[in-house]
Every structure is written in structure tokens, then in C-alpha cells.
């Protein structure tokens, strides 16, 4: 048996691949082989290390030294200096990171520790290796559920944990599962909604790329709890690496008998299939997703009946988001009481955020529910880039809310933000500095909605077009006084009369932009 003295974990995700991660990996293996070090130093692929915009990122263990912006040309020097001579290559070091945390503030060297539940394995295990997931405690939760819990026990545990759906709406997951278990039916389905399209959101992609088995385990537990035998993962067509990784993970789980018949020698049968979308934001809405999965245009359905009563092919169907399902194995393994130790009273657990825009270190973080926006932006995100001042943020994606600096101290969770007429949504935080033109930002949001309106219902189809006409006038400083009232009126009608949440949610960005940045709109009235 080989004794491995160093592990090099190289992040292979959509972001690093585009910076040449594959070439760096090849160069590393070649160079290590040249020195005969290939037996004692292993190169492992892993998912995102949570650092974006820093080119190829890798970490050398056991030292835990992070390197960023590594190119294939740097590899000979890196191998010779660090791995042969034991002198870390200072010019490429991002920072030093202790234990299981990711580095956020490389400038000051201060480290902000993150409680990690969902992203526990991301960046630490090879997502393409099922053994590593198992070694990290993977599939223990489904074993525990199958051997020691009844489906009702599982549902009660999830209910007790207080987990709220992480897709955007924040509906209690346990309650949804309880409806599913109470709905009669011989055949039920579990669908994982991985049609992540909310602008600024890529948490689900990084879970799929970084720890796909966690999702499979979450779906297995959901299937066992509601007595379903088939699951589908509906992934947007643009996420090619996610599709590749989850397909491999499913095949490996089948080979290990973790999917298929009589799982872990129980009487439980369950299998998962991947379905690929083709570019439509509306398919993130659960009933539109089901239509698309059935092979139709992705138009939303009337509700009720809810999918839980009549979903895929008219059968009872549970639809949960990727992040929601990724929380489940840890809840079952450690218990609801443990999970409730994180987060706030009304909103337990952690939330994965993407921090973007004018921040020093854009990226992905996981932190407890109830963390303030100020902490997220200034501690995790490293503050505003280039020493500029904070002006506002768009939280929760296009269907989210604009906020101004007066909201920085508000605690972020699903329930609390609702009280401030804002929304946590998908967890995207788009930060804007003092130079940002808010009229222009709202313009971008409204153009997005016009493009993505599916055309099924009149309020949304015509409403989004009319909103774009108005905002384009403001952008040219030709707004009229009446236009501001019209913006509000149109979105209020859309909120009440649109067929699905897409049209209903446009009122949030519009009313919040006008609430916090009304002056800027008034200044564009001719």
C-alpha cells in the first residue's frame, strides 16, 4: 500500500474549467511523475472551493495551503518549490486556511468561519468518487432511516427540524412531506428542482458539481418518507457539468445497490432519472417544470390541484429544491434538535448565499440563518470593491427586492425579511456601489421578466411589455410623473391577476426600487 504524504485538491467546476483547470491538472500529474512523486502525492478533483474569479484554485494538504490563479506554466515551479523542496510558493498563495473552512478575506488574512451543513463536503471530497462520499459519512442517513425509522418518523423529524424550502418561497418542507404521505396513491414521484435560473444564483450548480451524492441521498430519504419509487432531477440545459456529475453519481449509486431494488437489503425500491431542460426560466416554477418534464411547452398549471395531489402524469408528486434536499441527510443523521441549533427560532439551519457584484471577493458562502446583510457583505464578501461606498443590493435574484443601506442590520431569514416586504428568495445577493444607476438596474430586471414571461396569461405577457416601455423612457430621462404611479399600478394588477408566481413577483423589485431609490426615478422625469 502506498503512503500518500500530500493530497492536492484541485477545484474542477464550471468556473475553474474555463480558466484552464484541466490543463493545470494534467501538468501537475506530468510534473509529479517526472520527479517520481506520483505515488506519494495524489491529485484529486473536487468541486468548487467557494472562491470565484480567481482562476484555477487548488489546495495542498496536509498544510492546507490555497493557491489561486494557477496556470499550467506555474506548475513546474509549484511542484519543485512546494512539493519537492517543501517551500510554499508565496506568489500564488491565496491565504492559509485552517480546518474545514473556506477563505473569504485574503487581504487581511482574517478568516471567517462558516458553519457548513449543505456544503460540508464541497471542496473536500472528489465528487466523482462515491467511496469518498461514503467515507465522509455519506449514505449513513438513508441506512439509519431504513433500519430504525418508519416513513412517518422521517417526516416528523424533518417537520420538527423546521427546515423551510430553499427554492425561494420558504414553504415548510416537513409539512409538504406530510401532505405527500397523506395523499393516497399507488405511484408517487419525487422531483428535484435543479432548474436554477434566478439571476445571480448558482448554489444548486455548486452542490450538483461538488457533492452530487448528497442530493441522491436526500432524494432517497424523501422517496422512503412519502413512499415513492421513482425520482427525477430536472436540470437546466445550460448546466452541462452538473448533468455529467449527477449522471455519474446515479450510475455509481446503482452499482453499489444504493439505488434500485431492495436498497440496503430492505424492501424499499427507488431509482432516479435525470431530465434536461432547454432554456426557460419559467420551468423553475414547479407546475411548469412538471409540464416540461412530461414533454410539453413549459406553461404553468392551475393550482389547485397542487403537485402533491396531482403532479407528474396526474400522480402525487413532491417537488423540492436541490439545497432543500441536500439538508435532509444531515437532519436525519444528526437529528432535528441538532439542526435547530443553527439559525433563528423561526428559521432554522443555514443558508447558502451567492455574493456578487461590487464586492471585493465574490463567491459562495454558507452561514446561519439570521446573519445580517452587513456581516455577509462586509465580512464574508470582503466589503465593497475599490474602497467605494455601499449603495444598495438586490436580494433574492430578479424576483427579489432592492434594499438600501438602512436595511443592512436586518437579520436575514425567510420569515424576518417578509416583515420588511423583502424576500430571501434563492439567496443571491447582488451588491451595488455608490456609482450604480438604480434606474438602469431596474431596467435590466424588467427586461429579464419581459423575456422570460411565458406568454400564457395576459397580465404577465402584456404587463411585462408595458413595464419595459416605461422603464426604457426613464433610462432616457424622459419619464413622466404619471409613469411612477403606473409602474406600481401595473405590478399590483400583475400581482393579483397573473397565473403564476413569475408575474406575481414582479411587484417586489419594482416597489422596493421605488421605496429606497425614488429620488433617482424622480430625477429622470422630464
Amino acid at each position: 500500500m502506498n503512503i500518500v504524504r500530500n493530497h492536492i485538491l484541485i477545484s474542477i467546476d464550471a468556473g475553474t474549467i474555463m480558466s484552464g483547470a484541466r490543463a493545470v491538472e494534467d501538468a501537475l500529474i506530468k510534473e509529479l511523475t517526472k520527479y517520481g512523486l506520483d505515488k506519494e502525492i495524489s491529485v484529486l478533483e473536487t468541486g468548487s472551493l467557494g472562491i470565484t474569479g480567481r482562476g484555477v484554485v487548488l489546495v495542498v494538504y496536509p498544510e492546507g495551503i490555497y493557491y489561486a490563479n494557477v496556470t499550467a506554466k506555474d506548475v513546474p515551479e509549484l511542484v519543485e518549490e512546494h512539493l519537492l523542496k517543501g517551500r510554499p510558493l508565496k506568489r500564488l498563495i491565496l491565504t492559509e486556511a485552517p480546518k474545514r473552512t473556506i477563505i473569504i478575506k485574503e487581504k487581511t488574512g482574517l478568516l471567517k468561519e462558516q458553519p457548513r451543513i449543505v456544503l460540508k463536503n464541497c471542496g473536500f471530497i472528489n465528487p466523482e468518487n462515491i467511496d469518498e462520499y461514503i467515507a465522509a459519512g455519506g449514505y449513513e442517513a438513508i441506512a439509519k432511516a431504513l433500519q430504525t425509522m418508519t416513513p412517518v418518523d422521517v417526516v416528523n423529524e424533518v417537520k420538527e427540524s423546521g427546515l423551510l424550502g430553499r427554492g425561494g418561497a420558504g414553504f415548510p418542507t416537513g409539512l409538504k412531506w406530510e401532505f405527500a404521505i397523506k395523499t393516497p396513491g399507488d405511484e408517487k414521484f419525487v422531483i428535484c428542482n435543479a432548474d436554477e435560473g434566478e439571476p445571480g444564483t448558482f448554489k444548486d450548480r455548486l452542490i450538483l458539481e461538488g457533492d452530487p451524492h448528497k442530493l441522491i441521498e436526500g432524494m432517497l430519504i424523501a422517496g422512503y418518507a412519502i413512499k415513492a419509487t421513482v425520482g427525477f432531477v430536472y436540470i437546466r440545459g445550460e448546466y452541462s457539468l452538473s448533468i455529467e456529475r449527477i449522471e455519474k453519481a446515479i450510475a455509481d449509486a446503482r452499482a453499489y445497490g444504493l439505488l434500485g431494488k431492495n436498497i440496503l437489503e430492505s424492501s424499499f425500491n427507488f431509482d432516479i432519472f435525470v431530465k434536461k431542460g432547454a432554456g426557460a426560466y419559467i420551468c423553475g416554477e414547479e407546475t411548469a417544470l412538471i409540464e416540461s418534464l412530461e414533454g410539453k411547452r413549459g406553461h404553468p398549471r392551475n393550482k389547485p390541484p397542487f403537485p402533491i395531489n396531482a403532479g407528474l402524469w396526474g400522480k402525487p408528486t413532491l417537488v423540492n429544491n436541490v439545497e432543500t434536499l441536500a439538508n435532509v441527510p444531515e437532519i436525519i443523521r444528526n437529528g432535528a434538535a441538532w439542526y435547530k441549533g443553527y439559525g433563528t427560532e423561526k428559521c432554522s439551519g443555514t443558508k447558502v448565499y451567492t455574493i456578487l457584484g461590487h464586492v471585493a471577493t465574490p463567491g459562495l458562502i454558507e452561514t446561519q440563518m439570521g446573519t445580517t446583510l452587513k456581516e455577509i457583505i462586509f465580512e464574508y464578501g470582503g466589503g465593497i470593491k475599490d474602497g467605494k461606498a455601499f449603495k444598495g443590493a438586490l436580494i433574492g435574484g430578479a424576483a427579489g427586492a432592492f434594499i438600501g443601506s438602512e436595511m443592512l442590520d436586518v437579520k436575514m431569514d425567510f420569515i424576518n425579511l417578509r416583515e420588511y416586504a423583502a424576500a430571501l428568495g434563492s439567496g443571491a445577493i447582488l451588491v451595488m456601489n455608490e456609482e450604480t444607476d438604480m434606474v438602469d438596474m431596474l431596467k435590466s430586471v424588467l427586461h429579464f421578466f419581459k423575456h422570460e414571461s411565458c406568454g400564457h396569461c395576459v397580465p404577465c405577457r402584456l404587463g411585462t411589455a408595458k413595464l419595459v416601455d416605461i422603464i426604457d423612457r426613464f433610462a432616457l430621462s424622459k419619464g413622466k410623473r404619471k409613469d411612477i404611479d403606473d409602474l406600481i399600478d401595473i405590478t399590483q394588477v400583475m400581482k393579483g391577476a397573473s397565473f403564476c408566481p413569475l408575474g406575481q413577483s414582479v411587484s417586489l423589485p419594482v416597489s422596493s426600487a421605488l421605496k429606497y431609490f425614488r429620488d433617482e426615478f424622480m430625477a429622470r422625469v422630464s
Binding site: 464550471a14 445571480g200 414533454g295 456578487l356 447582488l430
Partner: protein
Amino acid sequence: MTREEILKKYDPSLDNILYILHDLQDNNPQHYIAKEDIEACANYLNIPYSYIRGVVTFYSMFSLQPRGRYIIRLCESPPCHLMGSESLLEYLKKRLKVNIGETTGDGVFTLELTSCLGICGVAPAMMINEEMVGNLTPEKVDAILEERRQTS
């Protein structure tokens, strides 16, 4: 691969339609779904031509028009917009001498817009065929276009 070979990969069940259409489009060097593709798909699944066409036109990744060898899909969602995608769009239009949805005269590039690609950490970003590129600047765009032109 022939059309028949692609179709045979999947059961003739309606829920496979997006996979079939993706494959038919990818198989076409001009990256589009031709009338013959729709006909073949309609026959195989035993559903009307109009139904398939309806599905094709609903999803933004499918095209009924022939496209260039490289499809540039620039993200126009708020995170990329904030980081300057609008000026990049103007730059791309000028460089390629095309409007949105058009293909260059030599058939190499088609310029399209897309909604969020989920790589917002490196905004502004775009996709060229299957490849994602981020942290775009006019200089970087020039280098990418030049490289693709050389290899085509």
C-alpha cells in the same frame, strides 16, 4: 450520426422530447432544428408536427434558423448587466457586424443573448457553444474571437 440513430437512442415516449431535440440540434453542423428533424421526431413519437414545433419555439436553447459554427450567448441578466455586459454587447455587435440573433457573413459566429448562466462570480460572462467564459473585457473578447476564427 443519422437522424434514425439519434431517435433510436430513446424510447418513443413524449417525456424524451427535449433530449431528442437537443441531440438533433447538436448533430446539425449549423446548430439548428430543421424541418426534417421535426418531421422525423413527429413520426417517431407519433404526435403532430405542430406540437413539436410548438415545443421547439418555447425553449430558448433551440433554433429554427441555421446558425454559425460558434454560438455566442452573452448573459444579459442583472449581475452581468451591473458589471458591464451592455457595453460588451455593443462591442460584439460592432466587431462582428451583426445584430442580436444574426450570423456573420462567413458563417462562423452567431450572436445571441441569454438569461443568467449561473457563473455570476466572474461577470460579465458568456457561453461559446458549450464553453463558459467570464471576466470579459473587449480585449479578452477579441482574443477569443480570433482564436475561434483561426480554428474554424
